[in-house]
Amino acid sequence: MTANASSDAFADVPEIPGAPKKDPVIVAHGVKRVFGGLTAVDVEHLEVQRHAITALIGPNGAGKSTFFNLLTGFDRANQGQWSFNGVSLQSHSPARVARAGMVRTFQLTKALSRMRVMDNMMLGATGQRGENFFAALVPPLWRSREEEIIEKAEELLKRFKLYEKRNDFAGELSGGQRKLLEMARALMSDPEIVMLDEPMAGVNPALTESLLEHIVQLREDGVTILFVEHDMHMVRRISDWVVVMAEGRIIAEGPPETVMQNPAVQDAYLGAHHDTDLSEDLL
């Protein structure tokens, strides 16, 4: 489970912030989000490589989640452009972003607690005419599609080892199982890119392993993955490329093996004066 499968794609990519990629699926330029006097996100340029696992890391308050929210339409940027497959996604609603093929999960898992696991899954499907009010009144219009959706949902539930839980309420699942459910649900629409916001937060170590495997498997299936994560162990294990943010900016990019050696990254995580001996100042 090493991260070499698609590292060829990054062979000639320079290890600098905003590095151009060979086949970018997302291109963001000049994205800025200001909350009052605080500039939460100020990304000059970012390209995300297709069919790869890209990690977005950075210390607390670096603007990772805000940047995520901007890309997926859950927040409005003050300025900047970004495109998905060359099509601009600016000021699109979250629903339109998702329909375009970019589906996200949340840091605080949003399992629909008082719905059954199966209904959670089925909600993720697209192309169901019965979601229209008038069509909903005429079951023959949507019943066959419903069966296809059930089939697909069962397949995914088996893969994510939730099949036995399909008739339980989602609220009865453990925290880790909810993360799995959320990920499986996101896959119901066959997204081109999955955006995972801290997929490991609150997951017990026993489930971590299977979650990692699922993410790597997604890449093998041709899905692009962009994830925000704090757990450096996980980042090192599965990501092909790491983007480091600090104070709203992208300060470094590179493969997981070397990016942590970058002085800018060490400064961001540990402070610029972490190796200065302060004892002399005390005298």
Partner: protein
């Protein structure tokens, strides 16, 4: 006090048209709250608008010698037009309420709806609109009930059925009982169908977590609007049915009415098909029994007859509180479903 009379009264209350009208209104609210999680605190406003829409239409056609746009209208056509107007008014009201509030958090809808319903009532009872709404006295039954009563297939006299005696076709009649419960049946059928459709699934998802549903590519705003309008229309039709057994009076559709509907919905079980119906039957029957018992058993020196009405309403309030605390899923709700409370 005579217990057999009380029993018959209670039995009559169980299938009374008002019980049906409230069941219908509660089915509307069930679309809002049970299915979508919308906190509509102004359901009585939808009911009152429906009543006005229907009654004024019929009255104006009547004043025009049964002509509408130069066409002679039969009783059935008049009713259809009246109901259509009631529906359109409810749709307009729903759109107007939802447009600014559905993008905001749920609590805002509650604030806006309670205020809007009161505005409808106050505008309706304002003296300057006396020629249209009849101000605080409202619209008398004989001004708008005629087309409906003329369609009755039952004879024009008191009809005895078992221990119950009702008029065949006038006011609170067997005819109205039949129509009102048919409407309730159809609305319950609609709820059942939609709750089990992909459309209903999206609404339940919105009830649980809007953002999750957004992230799955659904237009949450449009769905919430559809639910608000649909529930409002059903509420308006409940209002029309209610007015057939009473008269159009703005003050009978104030805040208490909204809270009664909430109480009986939660009593029966929100998000269930039969919850609103069972809730309405139990609510009105037990209210009648409590009033009668209090009247018969509590001496005047303890509780004066004029205090009986407020006393029974206090009991309604206490019931609602106990319900929400001890059995939030109502009588028919799934205990497991409501036990999960980790949002």
């Amino acid at each position: 006090m005579d217990f057999s009379d009380l029993l018959i009264d209670a039995g009559r209350e169980m299938f009374a048209p008002t019980t049906a009208a409230f069941a219908l209104a509660a089915i509307g609210l069930n679309f809002h709250f049970g299915m979508t999680g919308l906190l509509n605190m102004g359901h009585a406003g939808f009911m009152l608008l429906g009543m006005y829409g229907y009654a004024i239409t019929i009255r104006e056609i009547d004043a025009n010698d049964g002509m509408f746009l130069g066409i002679e209208m039969a009783a059935g056509a008049q009713i259809a037009l009246g109901v259509l107007v009631a529906i359109l008014v409810a749709i307009a009201f729903g759109l107007l309420l939802g447009w600014p509030t559905l993008k905001l958090r749920g609590d805002y809808l509650a604030i806006v709806t309670i205020a809007a319903a009161e505005m409808v009532r106050f505008v309706g009872r304002s003296q300057s609109l006396k020629s249209l709404t009849g101000a605080s006295t409202g619209i008398r039954g004989k001004d708008y009930k005629r087309p409906f009563e003329s369609l009755s297939p039952f004879p024009d006299r008191q009809i005895e059925l078992g221990p119950f005696t009702l008029h065949g076709s006038q006011s609170t009649s067997w005819w109205l009982v039949l129509v009102a419960w048919s409407a309730v049946f159809l609305a319950a059928l609609l709820f059942w169908r939609l709750a089990r459709s992909p459309w209903g699934r999206v609404l339940k998802g919105i009830r649980e977590d809007e953002d999750a549903v957004r992230s799955l590519g659904k237009n949450v705003y449009a769905y919430k609007m559809q639910a608000l309008v649909l529930g409002g229309v059903i509420g308006a039709l409940g209002g029309v049915l209610w007015s057939f057994g009473n008269s159009v009076a703005p003050d009978s559709m104030g805040r208490p009415t909204t809270f009664w509907i909430w109480t009986l919905l939660l009593l029966g079980g929100a998000a269930t098909v039969f919850g609103p119906i069972l809730g309405s039957i139990l609510f009105w029957t037990s209210l009648l029994v409590v009033r009668a018992l209090a009247n018969g058993l509590i001496p005047d020196t303890v509780l004066h007859p004029t205090e009986l009405e407020p006393f029974s309403l206090v009991l309604v309030g206490v019931t609602l509180m106990l319900l929400v605390i001890f059995r939030p899923q109502g009588i028919l709700g799934d205990r497991r479903e409501l036990a999960i409370n980790d949002r």
